[in-house]
Amino acid sequence: MSLLRVDSVDKSYGDEPVLHDVSFAMDRQNVEVIVGPSGSGKSTLLRCVNRLTEIDGGEIFLDDEEIHSVDENELRRRVGMVFQDFNLFAHLTARGNITLGLREVLGLSKEEANAKADDYLDRVGLADQAESYPAELSGGQQQRVGIARALAMDPELILFDEPTSALDPELIGEVLTVMEDLADGGMTMLCVTHEMGFARSAASTITFLDDGEIVERGPPEQLFEDPEHDRTRTFLGELTDLHQ
């Protein structure tokens, strides 16, 4: 049984179609990487999965439950999200960023929440930065806090929305390392990213989205070595060249 099943999803912003008849399914412990040119609907697709954006047509199932039949806050507790711009809570420490959800949503006590937060900060290599505020951290450290914040909620699935696109090149590696560790640990991840190295090494499946439609979908070897469509070859070729 698939953990996530997206079925014939349509979405427009006003008259502007963004997603058209998008369908795919992913299993637990898989890493799905979505690639595509900017404006192709990648981020919108991600946001539809945790209902930050509502779809116009089709259905999305999490664990065989249609996500619109689930309370949206409950859904979002089960589906974590990591943002391009980190979106850390600026007035809270790294630890506070993680404990807020643990306390307010999961109802953990202060001690439990602190212990759990410190555990997850340790996992992303930031045990020594628990008391630091976002503005005191580098971009890479902030994004790792963002990942720890999502992880600590024990989600069934984490959405990554271009998690390294706002980072200086020398800071990308530390975030990708954390993501690769997660993938190795069996976390189910749906990632929008331009990091072809990560896609090649960590993805179970790559989906190429263009103009709101899935052009091609398959394991990394197939998409990189022997894609069915020329558009896929051209796009992935350009991206790979760009990042070498």
């Binding site: 943002f83 959800g101 005191e136």
Partner: protein, 238 residues
């Protein structure tokens, strides 16, 4: 010295009447406190309603703000004093002040302050990135939880400089209560130099109360500066 040039030589008159001025200060400080409290109690939620609200509530708040900000404070205070059916509440003994005048002044200064404080809070709330709200919602917090725990704590910090401004304005504008004869600092000062048979010490009285207003605004502003830096977010710019 030529006639018409300011002269101030009768400081003994100030010393002899210091208790009158002190009671004026007490009324001025009390009126500032009640007005700012009313202004905050109404202004903070109004700012939030202007950002997050819709329908009749938001438009009511918006219209009330436009009217209050567009009316001179002296007009408001006179209007409330004579126009509102405030019952005769008697006199506060020690400071010798009409309580219903105090209520009218508090309403005028407080409501107008609410209208301005609402704009301060609205701006601060809107300055907090929408991404933080989305991040809070993405861990499963309700919109209310996200606003309360993520937006408000930051917005209140950013409001402090604007609030400080508002504090100074309200404190100084308590002096317009002279229009309804409320026994605050300026009214009492006027009574001192307008005593029948006296025409000296006007400048001394005015200089003295100017200094008192200055000391009050200066010390409070310094205190609020301290609060602002004490609660500033480390590494941040607000």
């Amino acid at each position: 010295m030529a006639p018409g040039v300011l002269q101030a030589t009768d400081w003994g008159f100030i010393l002899a009447n210091w208790d009158t001025l002190a009671l004026g200060v007490a009324v001025t400080v009390a009126l500032t406190a009640t007005s700012l409290t009313l202004g905050f109690a109404l202004g903070f939620p109004s700012g939030a309603i202007e950002v997050y609200g819709d329908g009749w509530l938001a438009s009511t708040v918006n219209t009330a703000g436009v009217v209050l900000r567009g009316t001179p404070i002296v007009v408001l205070i006179v209007l409330f004093f004579f126009g509102l059916p405030i019952p005769r509440l008697g006199t506060v003994p020690v400071v010798d002040m009409q309580l219903n005048g105090f209520v009218a002044a508090t309403l005028a200064l407080g409501l107008r302050s609410a209208a301005y404080q609402a704009q301060v809070f609205r701006g601060s709330i809107q300055s907090i990135s929408g991404g933080q709200l989305e991040a809070a919602r993405s861990v499963g917090m309700t919109k209310l939880q996200a606003i309360r725990h993520v937006v408000f704590p930051q917005a209140v910090r950013r409001s402090l400089p604007g609030f400080q401004n508002e504090f100074t304005i309200v404190l100084k504008d308590t002096s317009v209560a002279i229009a309804i004869g409320l026994a605050e600092l300026l009214t009492r000062a006027e009574r001192l130099y307008l005593q029948p048979g006296r025409d000296t010490a006007v400048i001394e009285v005015i200089i003295t109360i100017s200094a008192i207003y200055f000391v009050l605004t200066f010390t409070t502003n310094r205190t609020l500066d301290y609060v602002h830096s004490r609660y500033a977010i480390p590494g941040g710019n607000s």
